[in-house]
């Protein structure tokens, strides 16, 4: 009799119905402009998975670009995690990757595995086998124009 195969890892999913704000954002870059708050929720049928979250901000895609921010969503016993994945950009902050005029991509990436750059590494299984892990992402386009925001 064949042994029961081990349960395979299943991928997380970004709930597009709860992503905020809308996908295309236009803003000026003055210090008085409203902060940008990006947020999404994650679903993972494997409720014990610890999820790694990363934010990338770029004008030209580069697979080796370091993450702007990194975090974790620990297990909370639910498939849809209670905790949102968030990123705040404050135009009054010294460190603001959107401070210059241009068209940017703000990308939120979540993975249930260990990431090398953006690539999730398989998990080793007993017996020399491995289980794939996954990374999914959602991208916003932010169009930044020079100038203060109207009062």
């Amino acid at each position: 009799m064949e042994p029961v195969p081990a349960a395979r890892n299943r991928p997380p999913r970004i709930l597009e119905e709860l992503v905020t704000p809308d996908r295309v954002i236009r803003t000026n870059n003055g210090a008085n402009c409203p902060r940008l708050d990006f947020a999404y929720k994650v679903e993972d049928p494997d409720v014990e998975d610890n999820l790694t979250t990363r934010w990338y901000i770029y004008t030209n895609y580069n697979p080796n670009l370091p993450a702007y921010r990194e975090g974790q969503i620990p297990p909370d016993g639910k498939t849809v995690r209670d905790r949102s994945v968030t990123l705040s950009i404050d135009f009054a902050a010294a460190e603001n990757p959107l401070r210059l005029e241009g068209v940017y991509v703000v990308e939120g990436l979540v993975s249930d595995g260990t990431l090398i750059n953006r690539v999730p590494l398989p998990r080793p299984l007993p017996g020399g086998d491995s289980d794939p892990t996954y990374a999914v992402s959602y991208a916003w386009v932010v169009i930044v124009t020079t100038g203060s925001c109207p009062q």
């Binding site: 809308d22 929720k41 705040s88 404050d90 902050a93 010294a94 460190e95 020079t146 109207p150």
Partner: protein, 532 residues
């Protein structure tokens, strides 16, 4: 006696050393934990209060279907709180243009944008955008107070931005029609944008736009000034809002990579064609330097940029660069205006022990500016305990900067966090600022807490500061069902629910998150809020 003296000295030295090395105590802005509050009142970020006071609930039913956030302000709070949603909030209207004195449907694509924030949850900014070529629009939005603007995309008409804001409560539809002026009624402003001495700008493309001088509302679309090519003349034409007389013309480079100053000019549109001079800001060149920590160690991967006043009166910011493994950086810049200095910003990585450096530098030409020493971040230590007296382990402590402080004047970026260890202790390195510290337990039975704290004027940064020990609150579970508006009931499956408390702290009046969750497949939710 001969034996005692050395012991006494040792003790004195030890006490002195301990005194020198003692961490400076720092208090939260208000209470530390519920023990300081009377029965039934909870220690919130802005002090002791009753849970229901200032409680706000945000529900996002399904943003993908156009059902955006709806906010609630419950007058009371029971163990079961059902939430009944209204239909989508809408802003709708028509795009018209005067023609022969009569409004007619405006042809061509028009982008309409609503930007504002929640009426009930301060600090929750919201913006929505929609482009229509039908002469009408219907824009689903979250509840809130919005400034609405419309921009005709393929012609010269100035953007429309009504002065009054639109307040939308759940399910409400507001009508905002936009009436664009006739093209022939616009004020045509022709002028030239030049360097000093009548020379054209050939290095980069520059745009101009007319703004209302006080409110900075756009009075024209952006237009290209002839620039960026060898044959450029600097000529530009702006089609400006009728009746506008005194305007602010803003000149800015089209590309962020172009090192051309941005400058604003007051212009009387009834006068002769203006000649706007950006001045002789010169050519770009490279400056270099080395960034180190206070102990002389090179700081790699720091973000470096310069900003300031250019010759001619315009302002500019350079592109960012990164320091290399040896802490060496190179930035292409313009020279600073005579008598002024540029500001050099160096921002080490979030996990670095070095903090943000802001230093004034005179930049007159290519040079190695030498060594720059970034200040140490302040080591902030604290302890989190449970109500049973045990250490609270695995608590994620997130530091959200909410206001700058006088000693720094620069607001750090967000994202710093620490995890409490087996003793409930956490250590986090922060730049000086006012922070909201969020304490997020991994135990789903415990509520998250937030406290405001000012990290500034530290006597001995190497020792850091010690925050008062904090005890987590008890949790009170609130459950409920989210009922959808008329329509498919599954529209609110996986609705986002967030509970907030209003903040009265003058450093940050943005509402503070108390709990968040998502509805299940039966539209039910459950959250844990603090109780005492």
């Amino acid at each position: 006696m001969k034996l005692r003296a050395p012991i006494t000295w040792c003790l004195l030295l030890a006490v002195a050393a301990a005194g020198c090395g003692r961490k400076q105590a720092v208090s939260f802005h208000y209470c530390t934990d519920d023990s300081e509050c009377s029965a039934g009142r909870v220690c919130f970020a802005d002090g002791c209060g009753e849970l229901v006071q200032g409680l706000r609930i945000e529900v996002i039913p399904n943003a993908r279907e156009g059902l955006y956030a709806q906010d609630f302000a419950p007058a009371s709070l029971s163990a079961r709180e059902d939430l009944t949603l209204s239909g989508a909030s809408l802003i709708q209207g028509a795009f018209q243009q005067l023609s022969g004195g009569q409004p007619v449907t405006l042809q061509g694509p028009v982008s309409v944008r609503a930007a504002g924030e929640s009426l009930l949850v301060p600090g929750r900014s919201r913006s929505f955008e929609f482009t229509s070529s039908q002469g009408t629009y219907s824009l689903p939005v979250a509840t809130g107070s919005y400034s609405i603007s419309a921009n005709a995309l393929d012609n010269v008409l100035p953007p429309r931005q009504p002065r009054t804001k639109v307040n939308l409560t759940p399910g409400l539809t507001a009508t905002v029609d936009f009436l664009f002026p006739a093209v022939e009624s616009l004020t045509r402003l022709e002028g030239r944008l030049l360097l000093a001495n009548g020379l054209p700008i050939t290095e980069a493309e520059v745009d101009v736009q007319a703004l209302e001088p006080v409110t900075l509302r756009p009075l024209s679309q952006r237009a290209h000034a002839s620039s960026g090519t060898p044959g450029a003349t600097g000529a530009f034409t702006l089609q400006i809002e009728p009746l506008a007389v005194n305007v602010l013309v803003q000149a800015s480079p089209r590309s962020a990579d172009a090192l051309v100053p941005r400058k604003e000019f007051r212009v009387d549109v009834t006068g002769s064609p203006p000649i706007l001079e950006l001045g002789d800001f010169g050519s770009t060149f490279a400056i270099s330097g080395t960034l180190t920590s206070s102990d002389g160690t090179p700081i790699p991967s720091a973000t470096i940029y310069l900003e300031g006043l250019a010759n001619g009166g315009g302002t500019f910011r350079t592109a960012s660069t990164s320091s290399n493994a040896a802490g060496v950086f190179t930035v292409r810049t313009l020279r600073s205006a005579p008598g002024s200095q540029l500001t050099l910003w160096a921002i080490p990585l979030l996990q670095s022990a070095s903090g943000i450096l802001r230093v004034r530098v005179a930049v007159i030409g290519p040079a190695n500016l030498g060594f720059f020493t970034a200040p140490d971040k302040i080591l902030v230590s604290g302890t989190v305990g449970r109500l049973d007296g045990k250490a609270a382990t695995g608590i994620r402590v997130e530091a959200e900067p909410v206001a700058a402080v006088a000693s720094s004047l620069s607001l750090p970026g967000s994202g710093a966090y620490a995890i409490s260890d087996q003793n409930g202790e956490f250590r986090i390195r922060l730049d000086p600022a006012v922070y909201r510290l969020d304490f997020l337990p991994s135990d789903p039975q415990l509520p998250r807490l937030s406290r405001f704290v000012t990290i500034d004027n530290v006597e001995d940064p190497s020792q850091g500061v010690q925050i008062q020990p904090l005890t987590l609150s008890s949790g009170r579970r609130i459950t409920g069902t989210v009922f959808s508006p008329a329509g498919p009931t599954n529209m609110v499956t996986h609705a986002s629910i967030r509970f907030y408390r209003l903040s009265t702290d003058p450093a940050s009046t943005a509402a503070v998150l108390l709990a968040e969750t998502v509805t299940d497949s039966q539209n039910n939710y459950s959250v844990v809020l603090p109780t005492h």
